[in-house]
């Protein structure tokens, strides 16, 4: 075991890069769901965006054109879903699942000639001066433009939903589409716009995978990221900043488990450290809100035990399949714990989510 090869700054930088596709896709899906539409086709739209973006970037030589194409591709695919569910009143769950399969298949078909091709590089924004600051420079100013765009996107979506009339109308449509209709809001066009936005964001997320993170095209390369994005929206209780947190959590655990595998660490070490951090945050929140902190203390205790075990038996190993599972398990666990208070979670959930709207009269 050689802990000195672990560079915490590099870890955080790779965490953010791993999380960015999720931030993009989940933010888009959040807007779609806030309008009352449940689009389960995120995975399909992501993978379709990944190949349209990849193909456009390779053919034109410009990664920016690639991102543009991926957003367009994702939006077009989403609008198929939109027309089916909003005009033809098909079931949103079934249509969303079909969209995922359709997207995966179509992307594989388009992607045939692009396997093994290298995309044009997407440059980092090397900011002069700022990037040269020790530690902070690498931590804050060493990314490519899409990372900053994804954070800007979260901020913009938050501002739109919380502060603008358009956002208020969008939330109203998702909350009670019949009431919105009776007030004269155009429910279907608003939802179509939200669906297209969600698709464009998912497409961007896919293209970030194929153009920056990997960067190459392989069939089915999203590997469930779309489903994680969907889960993050729920875990975030439909709040934009929590989406960012959730995506970074998933990205963080992914990077940790990869490093654990690479360094042959005892997985109890990162798990224990993680539990202690979660327990501390949780304890703080519980104390501030005056709620019982028993579970937070339990998490702290478990974390300490795991850490002790990790230090005592540094050579202990488990199968790599278990480690690869970790990000999914952790995200699901956190999701369950955070939505434990069902009444509060329900308060933020769009009340018309997934319900078919049909204007009567």
């Amino acid at each position: 075991m050689d802990l000195s090869t672990l560079d915490p700054i590099a870890l955080i930088v790779s965490l953010i890069i791993a999380a960015t596709p999720l931030v993009l896709a989940a933010t888009g899906e959040l807007v779609t769901e806030k309008s009352g539409v449940l689009n389960l086709g995120v995975e399909g739209m992501m993978v379709f965006g990944a190949i349209t973006g990849f193909a456009a970037a390779v053919e034109s030589g410009s990664p920016w054109l690639g991102f543009l194409a991926s957003a367009t591709g994702g939006a077009v695919l989403a609008l198929i879903f939109g027309v089916m569910t909003q005009y033809l009143l098909s079931n949103q769950v079934a249509t969303g699942l079909a969209l995922t399969m359709f997207g995966l298949g179509l992307a594989a078909l388009i992607g045939q000639p692009y396997a093994g091709v290298k995309p044009p590089p997407f440059p980092r924004l090397d900011l002069p001066l700022l990037g040269d600051i020790p530690v902070l420079g690498r931590l804050l100013f060493s990314f490519d433009a899409m990372v900053y765009l994804s954070i800007l996107l979260v901020a913009a979506v938050w501002w739109f939903l919380a502060r603008t009339r358009g956002g208020m109308v969008l939330r109203a449509v998702g909350e009670n589409h019949d009431a919105a209709h009776s007030l004269g809001m155009k429910v279907v066009p608003i939802r179509l716009a939200a669906i297209a936005f969600g698709g464009a964001c998912a497409g961007l997320g896919g293209a970030y995978l194929s153009l920056v993170r990997v960067p190459q095209w392989t069939e089915g390369m999203t590997a469930g990221a779309g489903w994680i994005a969907l889960a993050i929206v729920v875990f975030a209780s439909w709040k934009p900043w929590r989406v960012l947190l959730g995506a970074y959590l998933f990205g963080g655990v992914t990077i940790l488990q990869l490093n654990t595998q690479a360094l042959s660490l005892n997985p109890a070490l990162p798990a224990g450290a993680g539990l202690i951090v979660v327990g501390l945050v949780w304890l703080g929140l519980a104390l501030r809100a005056g709620r019982p902190a028993g579970l937070a203390l339990a998490a702290l205790g478990l974390g300490a035990a795991a850490l002790a075990f990790g230090l005592a038996a540094p050579r202990f190993q488990i199968g790599s399949a278990w480690l690869s599972m970790a990000p999914y398990l952790v995200t699901i666990l956190v999701l369950v714990v955070m939505s434990r208070d069902r009444a509060r979670a329900a308060l933020n959930a769009p009340a018309s989510l997934g319900r078919v709207f049909h204007a009567a009269g």
């Binding site: 109203a172 009776s182 004269g184 009444a343």
Partner: protein, 507 residues
């Protein structure tokens, strides 16, 4: 000169003419009642005026100028505002946001909360702009709708069944507001089933039947009976007299408590009750005070501790609906389509859904379709359900007919205890009378009946004893004959009205 005049408005939907050649006028400052049974075309007509429905023929003029609203925004811009029967509110949003959403963007400025406060104070409708609508009582929600309309300084205010959810005291507050508006020259188009209210509030009335105008009158010069007969076009069935012996206790609730899973729902708290054979117990209260939760607890859709509910001494709190039916406790929930009946299934299939156990409609897991169909036919015959046949979908029935079917289905199973929630909600006068008669007959035969309803007149008419749900607590039942409407109103408002403006001493 009239403010709004309608000339020859006609609107047809596939299979039904909702409005046919409707003409009348409304003068400024006039409170104009629109009367008619369910399906008479009132809703279509007001939706036409508010720009939600485009008429096939006919024209409207507002202050002498042609008025053709293509959407509600046009109507609002022209000075027409509407308070909906089913509130068009968003529970998870604040009062101010809700009000802003009902206005044009340009009108809803940053000073909106201040304007809400001043308008609500001016008209005696206290409201806090920052509260979540989901936390408000039904009466307060209606205030949100009304204040939203008033902020747009309307010339015509349409109110669709505004009092069906209010306590008598809240109705008085509302009427004071409407009279003040009328005195300021605002015309009000008022839709209600409550004929006494119309007699006391409205200057003129237009009566619709089958989509046509069949008459107009000055309500104050009519009796409630003559108005009702003008609406239904025939003499009204006499209400049935109550005379039946009350026997021993059959159902007991002891400290029934049920937390609500819905953040805006009401939790039942310490509901206790003894129900006797042969009595009808009325449970009144403003909607959202625990009626649905009580219904769910009694039907077995939500389980409670075994001892909280006893049927003939047997603890049934933990049993599900089918076991309770087998023991003799039947229920008919409020929502006809989707809860009491499956919309897409035929009447026969719907008869099977609750009749399975008590009517023995299955044999070793196989449905006895012939017996089921004859059970459904028996319901249709006994309760005069107007339908082409029992193989038609429940959705195809009108509200009144489906309600007769839903109540009849339970009554024919000869339950020992029947619980009905809102048995005549949105049902026309003739069907309502038939349903009430069936309940009274059932009780006269020795069964115990619980009627949960928001219609006080109905409860006064058929109940032997009356209790009120307020904030999830049930008041002690009292003989209905000894109670006045005012007293019940105080019981209803006692623990639900929060604003200082109209806090009443608890009864």
């Amino acid at each position: 000169m009239s403010l709004l005049s309608l000339r020859g408005l006609t609107k047809a939907y596939p299979g039904v003419v909702a409005n046919s050649d409707v003409s009348f006028d409304i003068a400024p400052g006039e409170v104009h009642a629109l009367l008619g049974e369910n399906g008479a075309g009132k809703s279509t007509l007001v939706k036409t005026i508010f720009g939600l429905v485009r008429p096939d023929a006919g024209e409207m003029t507002l202050s002498g100028r042609p008025y053709t609203p293509a959407r509600p925004g046009d109507a609002r811009a022209a000075g027409v505002a509407m308070v909906f029967q089913h509130f068009s509110l968003f529970e998870a949003m604040s009062v101010a946001e809700n009000i802003a959403l009902g206005m044009e963007a340009a009108q809803a400025g940053r000073d909106l909360p201040a304007r809400i406060r001043s308008v609500s104070a001016e008209y005696g409708l206290p409201l806090d702009p920052d509260r979540l609508v989901g936390d408000l009582s039904v009466g307060e929600r209606q205030r949100v709708e009304i204040v939203r309309c008033l902020l747009q300084e309307p010339r015509l205010l349409i109110m669709d069944e505004p009092t069906s959810v209010l306590t008598p005291q809240e109705v008085e507050v509302l009427f004071a507001t409407l009279r003040k508006l009328s005195a300021e020259g605002v015309a009000i188009l008022y839709i209600s089933h409550k004929l006494e209210e119309i007699r006391s509030l409205c200057d003129r009335a237009t009566i619709l039947r089958g989509g046509r105008v069949v008459g107009s009158c000055v309500p104050a010069q009519e009796t409630a009976k003559s108005l009702a007969e003008a609406m239904i076009g025939s003499a009204l069935a006499r209400p049935v007299a109550k005379s039946h012996a009350v026997g021993g206790i059959v159902l007991e609730l002891a400290g029934l408590a049920l937390p609500s899973p819905d953040p805006f729902g009401t939790s039942l708290r310490d509901v206790s009750l003894s129900l006797h054979k042969g009595e009808i117990l009325g449970i009144g209260g403003v909607a959202g005070n625990g009626q649905e939760e009580l219904q769910a607890a009694l039907s077995g859709e939500r389980r409670v501790a075994p001892g909280m509910i006893r049927l003939r001494g047997q603890e049934i709190g933990a049993l599900g609906p089918n076991r309770r039916r087998a023991l003799g406790l039947c229920t008919a929930p409020e929502e006809r389509l989707g809860h009491a009946a499956a919309p897409e299934m035929t009447l026969t299939e719907n008869a099977l859904l609750t009749g399975l156990t008590r009517e023995r409609l299955a044999n070793g897991g196989f449905v006895k379709w012939r017996a089921t169909a004859s059970f459904a036919e028996a319901i249709v015959r006994r309760f005069d359900v107007r339908t082409p046949g029992v193989d038609h979908a429940a959705r195809a029935l009108s509200g009144g007919n489906l309600q007769k079917f839903v109540v009849g289905r339970e009554v024919l199973q000869k339950p020992d205890v029947l619980v009905v929630n809102q048995p005549t909600w949105g049902v026309d006068a003739a069907a309502a009378a038939a349903i009430r008669a069936a309940l009274v007959t059932l009780a006269a035969g020795g069964a115990a009946v619980i009627v949960i309803s928001q219609d006080l007149d109905e409860l006064m008419e058929i109940s032997d004893r009356l209790a009120v749900l307020a904030g999830g607590r049930l008041s002690a039942p009292r003989p209905a004959a000894s109670l006045g409407i005012d007293e019940i109103g105080l019981m209803m408002g006692g623990s639900t009205v929060k604003d200082a403006g109209e806090t009443h001493a608890p009864a």
